[in-house]
Symmetry: C2
Subunit: 414 residues, 2 copies
């Protein structure tokens, strides 16, 4: 079964927002065995939306549409869908009731434009949206299903989880898609490919191998498609084992999880605790870690020590160290990491201090210079990195490198 | 001038990565007056890529393609482009030299598959990629320009900034697109629309108004297109002023910046300092703030106090408060905020403590219960929120609400 996703909204095409909805939807569809053939973002323009619907109908069995359902004039999805399916409008009682309830809950008067949100093309099936005022609409034409949802991420997510995915699973006999991911670090894509070229050459045609490089890590993904889930699972695991045994020293995890989750899992299994002392990463490492449910059993917290004063007062970095060597130095980052272990009473700590940019660089320490330290009660390792002149990238690459350093230290000691 | 973006790669269609490249590219194109008509993500499948190229050529003057240029077998973009343009291959000397230099820099042996990265379709112009081994390729056919770039974000960004955008600006006489954004908070989309419906009704046809709601904020965007930049700018500013004066009490900023940047700018202009004390947001607020260059002049840092022990030791929350009222309580969040002001010596502090989920909820304090406090030397305000049962959403909404609370406090006092 093939699906397409169409996202509607000028805000995507002028780059004001990043389309995170599509990735989330694609992931959920894949998990139930629906392949996404294409993701298309089009503007709030009637002719363009009509063309996109027509092309998608030809290619796909299921077309998921998000966006353009707000109450305001720039939102034209509903009108355009009515035109595409040649339908009139009716005001849907269930949808109107939901709008009423939402306005009652927030004690706000119901405006005409809100009542109009319950107007729907008369040939569609309405799926009530419990989290917002724009109803979800289900259409069928020439064996293709079209579902129109609001673009607000959490409204879309609830509708997908509670309504759309269960209906699709019930109605179609879907093939199985089994993925297996291996996360590697400290090896480049082409060296990895060279190492496993024999294994790759012998993969059967229904199993694909993809290389996904990002921030010094390469994720390998085996994907198998077929009708027998257990058989696919067995096959994929066999090839994954072959790959892992070939490049074991670079393998971080054989689960589809990010580096920090692999670290949390490892540390949790050993009963270890972690804290952070961040300067230039400004809380980003803490954020990566605390995104994960259950992180509190390993991660105790940390400091975002931007100002010199906080490096001293929270982490116990010596004033003389800062004065002599500066904030971005081996000495300071070492004291930050050791201070975190000592004051936060954790087994391990990560510390980062660097010049994220775009300003603040000098000839000796240009923008992108970042010192990272990992400390335990027994030892501290520190290393300097030279990244780019782009702030966000420096933050992300510093965080990825710090996590990779921690993992290496853990691997040596555990 | 119309552009389309085609991103190639199964990893997008199975939802393993979010396509952030397209939004960035779209934004840069818009700034130089190129409208993006469509963004299309297709799989690593020859037939599908060929179809996407053909459709894009019909609609667009410029087609920017990212992805599928890696050295491994799953990357087929180059081969497919050669087929589309009916070209053979040649090994490009400048591209090969760059590959050599990169391998020399990292002291790694040059493999055959790396040398092959300098193979390009023989009718294309090569633009050397200084940050990676995959060259950028420029094609022209039937008055449409096609540019193929690597999907690695920072390689693509450098190529766009340094090469592609300057070439486009030089070659085409581009219309001007002028945007003006107004960020509002504490008012729903439909109420906002009602408030400004008169103004909206009188907008000329070359000026569009869009409503972009997100996390309790609504961004209004006026966009004007034409040939006279100053005139467009004047017009857009006139309408923006009308809107701002109509809904002034809800306006956060009239710049295209996020809430935290508006707060940083306001506080910087008043010489004020800020710190954070985060529990359930786990460093996310600190990260939002420190993304912005120059944030260090306002933001001194803060604590990510996940464990009870750190709430006590870094922030000075009393053990008895935690024991009596729990971590998620008005009393604790108040002590966290006041502790941050006191210990970090800043004018203002934000504190957040809540149950992000998915576990840890109780009947009295279900998942999504979040206490937020904003404190200054003179007073502390605290408020409870009830969000959803999704962890990431709870973190994001808590951060947005905390920033909105801080802004309200600042507006009252400044």
């Amino acid at each position: 079964m093939l699906a397409e996703i169409i996202t509607i909204g000028d805000e995507i095409l002028i780059g004001q927002i990043v389309d995170t909805n599509s990735a989330w939807m694609a992931k959920q569809l894949n998990l139930i065995g629906v392949s996404v053939k294409q993701i298309t973002s089009v503007s709030d323009d009637e002719q363009h939306i009509l063309e996109a619907l027509e092309l998608a109908e030809k290619r796909a069995d299921l077309v998921l549409i998000t966006g353009g359902l707000g109450p305001t004039k720039d939102d034209i999805t509903k009108k355009t869908l009515a035109k595409y399916f040649d339908m009139g409008f009716r005001n849907d009682a269930a949808a109107l009731e939901m709008v009423r309830q939402i306005f009652e809950k927030y004690k706000r008067p119901l405006l005409d434009i809100n009542i109009q949100q319950a107007d729907v093309p008369d040939g569609c099936e309405v799926i009530v949206n419990k989290n917002g005022t724009a109803p979800c609409m289900w259409f069928e034409q020439n064996n293709t299903i079209f579902v129109s949802m609001p673009g607000v991420p959490y409204e879309m997510m609830y509708l997908m989880d509670d309504e759309i995915l269960p209906r699709i699973k019930k109605r179609f006999k879907l093939p199985f898609i089994v993925h297996k991911t291996i996360l590697t670090a400290n090896i480049g894509e082409s060296f990895l490919a060279k190492e496993i070229e024999e294994i790759e050459a012998h993969l059967p045609s229904h199993i694909k191998l993809a290389y996904l490089p990002k921030l010094g890590q390469v994720r390998l993904r085996l994907s198998a498609k077929g009708n027998h889930e257990l058989e696919l699972d067995r096959e994929v695991k066999t090839y994954a084992r072959q790959i892992i045994s070939k490049v074991s020293r670079f393998v971080v995890t054989d689960e589809d999880i990010p580096m920090e989750k692999a670290i949390l899992d490892l540390m949790k299994s050993k009963g270890m605790t972690l804290s952070t002392a961040e300067s230039c990463t400004g809380g980003y490492i803490a954020h990566l870690i605390t995104q994960h449910p259950g992180s509190s059993s390993v991660y105790w917290g940390g400091a975002v020590a931007y100002a010199y004063e906080l490096k001293e007062s929270i982490l116990g970095v010596k004033e003389s160290t800062l004065a002599t060597f500066g904030a971005v130095s081996e000495q300071t980052v070492t004291e930050m990491a050791e201070g975190a272990v000592k004051h936060f009473k954790t087994d391990y700590a990560i510390a980062v201090s660097g010049i994220a940019g775009p300003d603040g660089g000098t000839v000796e320490k240009p923008v992108g210079t970042v010192w990272i330290a990992v400390s335990s009660k027994h030892k501290t390792v520190a290393k300097v990195f030279n990244f780019s002149n782009k702030r966000i990238q420096n933050i992300e690459r510093s965080a990825a490198s710090a996590l990779a350093m921690l993992l290496n230290v853990l691997k040596e000691t555990v």
